[in-house]
Amino acid sequence: MSTQTVQKRRSGIMEVWHRLKKSPMAVVGLILIAVLFIMAIFANVIAPFTYSKQNLMHAFESPSSAYIFGTDEFGRDIFSRIVYGARISLQVGFIAVGISMFIGGFLGAVAGYYGGKIDNTLMRVMDILLSIPSILLAIAIAASLGPGLFNLMIAVGISAIPNYARIVRGSVLSIRGQEFVEAAKAVGSSDLRIIFKHIIPNCLAPIIVQATLGVATAILTAAGLSFIGLGIQPPIPEWGAMLSGGRSYIRDYPYMTLFPGLAIMITILALNFVGDGLRDALDPKLKR
């Protein structure tokens, strides 16, 4: 009996994991993300060269056994730079999403829970932010803060706040009216306690899905900002900046843009696979 209950207790997360495993795309996505993480963590072991080592003798070399992705205009190994770039991209992706999830989630929860004027004020501000294309917003913020890794994260993070605020507000609205929230009030819980202990845990599923997909968007936005020179500054290897750098040589040396582009594409694809898989796995209606 007791072992049975132990199994049952795990069922929440295990059940989701079980369903996630059934989706081949999600598994592929997870494996790719795992590879990316390994690349990022062990970049100094995996990369044959450092990201900034220049060797003008070997500039513009095509992919070969020594430089498997070739070299750029300064003779830097593109493969090494992509491996190190994974660090930057993952950092930017996850931290930016963290920023927007916490701020947006908190604002959305407050708006949804209290309703009325607070809701109206907060959501109209979010609407204003949403009315500006997010890339434009990120450009504006990045331009005013100046370039740099940290500012890039803030810019990308802020530009995505409204998405989270809306999603969290919607879920909170649907949960707020349920009887267990009233029951929690009836036992004397404070508002904050109700929001954090009763409401948020009940709307985690859409937040998790949005966050997973959001990491992809954040990486893409960050790459875009770096591409136009507002993000990471050379010589730090950012995939978007590498694309931008290779742009002038795209006719003669297409591999300079091909590989960073592929890296971005595969990462985004993997994250989207996982996000879609999670959405299906977390949807209780699809429970068989």
Binding site: F180, E182, V187, G188, K197, N202
Partner: protein, 333 residues
């Protein structure tokens, strides 16, 4: 009215909801008394204001649109309407606990049941988390749930079991007053009987006073000491259960009793109260019941009936019937 000590004394309580459709007079000049250790049955149709009264006692009326328009809720000698929100938080759960109608939705689906009980305990008692969880498991045993199920989630329980968990939460801090809002409506009949039996036992064991909101007069007969009949936001008749079942006076109460089918009698149609509940945004003038009342006289549409005591502990808001009753008694003696 008599010497019994009152735990709860509601005087002239009025609660309105301001909606776009107009002012909903959910509770109008409501009087209610509850002594220590007593069970009060609170009977009325859907929309009569029973739940609003219950939430009103807890100060959980959603505001806006709800608002207290007057009256007092004296609980243990203190007016709850004068309390601050922080004071109310310690009263809710600690002194007054509530059982909600639908056990399916009144438990948090993503929290194990022992944690939900422990939350109540740690909010009101000075205990650490382990102790709270231990007490929670003990409470589960009190309501007849095996301790090894403590770590289960609500969806792993049946409806009756969930209602037991809800009862365990409500009683965890030994409240002086338990408000049960139709606790058995969502359950099927056999489970209803079990849950009622359990509540009856626990009430005795914990010496808790209870307000039992229901529209089932059978439940009232079974467990209540006193009954308040509510119609359109007012208590129209208040008496101890025996008196009410034997000598109800108000025409609405009479209608309720007449509508209970009699097994002995061969009838094709139930005897019902004619008409429908009035629109709460547009209550009839005078006595709200007069358009449906077979005894109505001309003055009923003008004068709001006073809530008068016709015999010790028996109050009625119907001057016409009260007078008739008095005359009948005088003639009999």
């Amino acid at each position: 009215m008599n010497e019994r000590e009152l735990l709860l004394d509601i005087q002239d309580l009025t609660i309105h909801y301001e909606t776009e459709a107009g002012r909903v007079r959910a509770v109008e000049h409501l009087y209610l008394e509850l002594g220590y250790g007593e069970t009060l049955g609170f009977v009325g149709e859907t929309g009569a204001g029973k739940t609003t009264t219950a939430l009103g006692i807890m100060r959980l009326i959603p505001s806006p649109p709800g608002a207290y328009k007057g009256g007092k809720i004296i609980f243990r000698g203190e007016d709850l309407l004068a309390k601050s929100e922080a004071e109310m938080r310690s009263i809710r759960g600690g002194r007054i606990a509530m059982i909600f109608q639908d056990p399916m939705t009144s438990l948090n689906p993503v929290m194990t049941v022992d944690r939900q009980i422990a939350e109540m305990i740690s909010l009101h008692r000075d205990v650490n988390e382990t102790e709270a969880l231990e007490q929670a498991v003990r409470m589960l045993e009190v309501v007849g749930i095996r301790p090894e199920r403590a770590k289960d989630y609500p969806h792993q329980f049946s409806g009756g079991m969930k209602q037991r968990v809800v009862i365990a939460i409500a009683l965890a801090c030994d409240p002086a007053l338990l408000i049960a809002d139709e606790p058995t409506t969502a359950l099927d009949v056999t489970i209803q009987a079990q849950v009622l039996e359990l509540m009856k036992d626990l009430k005795r064991q914990y010496n808790t006073s209870m307000i039992m909101i229901t529209h089932d007069l059978g439940i009232v007969a079974e467990i209540c000491d006193r009954v308040a009949i509510m119609y359109a936001g007012r208590v129209v008749e208040y008496a101890d259960t025996k008196t009410l079942f034997e000598r109800h006076v108000h025409p609405y109460t009479e209608g309720l009793f007449n509508s209970i089918p009699d097994l002995e009698e061969d009838r094709d149609e139930l005897k019902t109260i004619m008409g429908l509940m009035p629109d709460p945004t547009n209550l009839p003038t005078g006595c709200s019941f007069h358009p449906r009342c077979p005894y109505a006289v001309e003055s009923c549409s003008r004068e709001t009936p006073a809530f008068v005591e016709i015999e010790p502990g028996h109050r009625v808001a119907c001057p016409v019937r009260a007078a008739a009753e008095k005359n009948g008694k005088e003639r009999a003696s």
